[in-house]
């Protein structure tokens, strides 16, 4: 009995691993098309001491999205959604830059302190969302809509500059100290862009927490049936709250990274429309937006896929404003590729169907 059960279990595990197969496949597809289109796509060279090339660009630019996707995955797993991440990022960026101050030789506030406070600001926003959703039972999309709008206003308010003797908000503040640019650029003597490390760090920590603690299981439970979850002693409200908190945190990180890239706080544009890409990333990772089961790595791959798509479309000389058309088509292709229904059709096509009619899944 036992050994064969083991076998079955391993088989099942293998299957669940397969879940990641399609997202990866999709990513590869995008990349392969590239070689055909732009042969130089995979060239990586070292220019003035740092790695250089499309691939590096993709990973580098995907970093923020990856970081966001981590938080978004959790939120979505609880059956919610957070459309405020972009704005929250802007808030964090504003806090960070405002604190750092705009001088060439010294920060008004030590860098790590101001970054820390920026992250706190992000978590505060996350807490706000979490409170609305978990305690007041407000529908996630609407609850987060509030910061989605207010966030940028707050960010503008924070990024004030002294003009003609009085502080005028709604400015674009610039950080001049080179050392701040390292976060979004390169650490001295390192050939890989810093954001990549940050993204990697976030993913690893998240993965560790989810696999070493029961958080992952709890989140799934809450997402599947929070009532049942409550009866088996899981504090659904707490879990949901935490997920939004984490999401706010990741949003803040990505915001700070972006602001360091442009070493300024552009309240109107930092993280603009990022929420959509983040959600898309989660979905491309083979996750259901209705909550429950989730795959963190899937989301990460999804994020990279999106950036790869964008970068390569640019490389193919498609203009920014027409890009969405192609993006849309590819997205539809990828998700249909992952759809149960398609698999079923193929199966039916090959031989009589084995699984229950997907009507009931």
């Amino acid at each position: 009995m036992n050994p064969e059960l083991r076998k079955l279990k391993n088989a099942a595990l293998a299957l669940s691993k397969k879940q990641l197969f399609l997202p990866i496949f999709a990513l590869c597809l995008v990349l392969i098309i590239n070689i055909i289109e732009t042969p130089t796509f995979f060239n990586i060279s070292i220019q003035n001491g740092v790695l250089y090339g499309y691939i590096i660009d993709i990973i580098n630019r995907a970093s923020e999205l990856i970081i966001l996707a981590v938080g978004m995955t959790l939120v979505i797993a609880t059956g919610g959604i957070d459309i405020s991440v972009g704005a929250v990022g802007a808030v964090a960026a504003a806090v960070c830059v405002r604190l750092l101050g705009a001088s060439y030789d010294a920060y008004a506030t030590p860098m790590f302190l101001s970054i820390g406070l920026a992250l706190l600001a992000g978590m505060a926003c996350g807490a706000f969302n979490g409170f609305l959703v978990s305690r007041l039972k407000i529908q996630a999309m609407v609850a987060t809509l509030i910061l989605f709008t207010a966030g940028r206003g707050i960010a503008q308010l924070i990024s004030a500059r002294e003009i003609g003797g009085k502080m005028v908000p709604g400015q674009i503040l610039y950080v001049r100290m080179e050392s701040f640019k390292a976060i979004g650029g390169f650490l001295p003597g390192v050939v890989v862009p810093t954001p990549v490390f940050i993204a990697l760090g976030v993913v690893i920590i998240a993965y560790f927490i989810l696999t070493r603690t029961a958080l992952g299981l709890y989140v799934k439970t809450v997402g599947i049936n929070s009532r049942a979850g409550r009866l088996v002693g899981i504090n659904s409200q707490m879990i949901i709250f935490m997920c939004y908190l984490i999401c706010g945190f990741t949003a803040a990180i990505s915001g700070v990274v972006t602001s360091s890239r442009i070493y300024s706080s552009d309240a109107n544009n930092i993280g603009l429309y990022m929420e959509l890409d983040a959600i898309l990333a989660v979905a491309l990772g083979g996750n259901s937006l209705s909550g429950g089961k989730f795959s963190l790595l899937g989301a990460v791959i999804g994020a990279v896929t999106i950036q790869a798509l964008t970068t390569s479309l640019y490389a193919m000389g498609i203009t920014a404003d027409q890009l969405p058309v192609y993006k849309a088509i590819v997205v539809v292709l990828i998700v249909s590729m992952q759809s149960e229904e398609l698999k079923r059709w193929i199966r039916n096509f090959r031989q009589k169907s084995e699984a229950p009619k997907a009507v009931l899944q």
Binding site: N48, R61, I262, D266, Y314, D321
Partner: protein
């Protein structure tokens, strides 16, 4: 009803002006708003009703309708876009309220719908940019050699983009030595500007000149250029527009060679027009604000005098 008249009576002396602003999407815009807010104050005999459209035309249309209900004396609009004002302006006309445009033009079937327009001449700005480049190459004796040019456009369709692109392209065509390699929109933002410039640099290793249709995109471009180990302002000439505060710092640092001003201080000019209209005088429809060209040579002394 009665209350209206009462309210109106109380402040008969004040001229009520409704200003439908685009938003606060750039320093330029904020400066423009400030200029209006500081001009139309009670001391000068005005009451300003300010409305911020959050970069959305439909909001602006709503605002104008609201101004009509608030029964203002003048409506000032800085249109988000040039098009689509037929319906609401005809309502304003029916209510007999004069409409003055600031910054962007309006494209309507009959231009009696608005009284006057105040703003910068984007076409001229574009031409000034190229003109500066021509002088520059002459001065530095580069006139003989070919110059490879790329153009970072603004948000497609915005009149700043349309006008400047037009001016720049015309100028480039005029000079056989100038060669336009590529143009793409950076949507007026630093991040996009950087991203687009990066792809330019990959595609074309030998770029000599960058036109950026606003300063922010230029800042992005500068980073992209630095990233490939070239020197902005030396290896690659950078010409940008707007001449915001930060742009001067960059010119002083020698990273931007030239920035063509786009003057946001429309308030006083509009006030003039209103005064004329109050006196029943005739005003001419198109009124440009004065705009200059700044470059590394004069940036340092000008900077302290800048209001934005």
């Amino acid at each position: 009803g009665g209350q209206d008249e009462a309210a109106a009576g109380a402040e008969d002396d004040l001229i009520v002006v409704g200003y439908a602003q685009v938003g606060a999407e750039s320093d330029w815009r904020t400066a423009n708003t400030e200029s209006f807010k500081s001009t139309f104050v009670e001391e000068n005999g005005y009451r300003l009703i300010f409305d911020d459209a959050q970069q959305k035309q439909q909001n602006q249309i709503k605002a104008i309708r609201n101004f009509i209900q608030q029964d203002v004396d003048y409506i000032v609009v800085a249109p988000v876009v040039e098009t689509g004002w037929e319906t609401v302006l005809s309502e304003a006309k029916a209510a007999g309220i004069p409409v003055i445009l600031s910054d962007r033009m309006m494209d309507v079937s009959d231009d009696s719908l608005y009284t006057a327009w105040v703003g910068g001449n984007f076409l001229k700005e574009g031409q000034d940019g190229v003109k500066w480049l021509n002088d520059y190459v002459k001065k530095n004796g580069l006139a003989s050699q070919e110059l490879n040019i790329v153009l970072l456009q603004g948000t497609i369709g915005s009149s700043a983009q349309v006008g400047r692109t037009q001016g720049i392209l015309a100028g480039i065509d005029a000079n056989p030595k100038f060669k336009l390699l590529a143009k793409q929109t950076g949507e007026f933002t630093q991040a996009k500007g950087q991203e687009v410039m990066e792809s330019f640099l990959k595609a074309y290793p030998d770029i000599d000149v960058v036109f950026a249709e606003n300063d922010n995109m230029a800042f992005g471009a500068i980073d992209a250029i630095k990233a490939v180990g070239k020197q902005p302002g030396k290896d690659i000439i950078i010409i940008s527009f707007d001449a915001v505060h930060e742009a001067f710092n960059r010119m002083i640092a020698g990273e931007i060679n030239c920035s063509v001003e786009c003057n946001p201080l429309h308030g006083p000019r509009v006030a003039e027009i209103i005064q004329k209209l109050e006196r029943g005088e005739k005003v001419d429809k198109i009124q440009y604000v004065v705009e200059e060209v700044f470059d590394t040579s004069n940036a340092k002394e000008i900077l302290p005098t800048r209001m934005y």
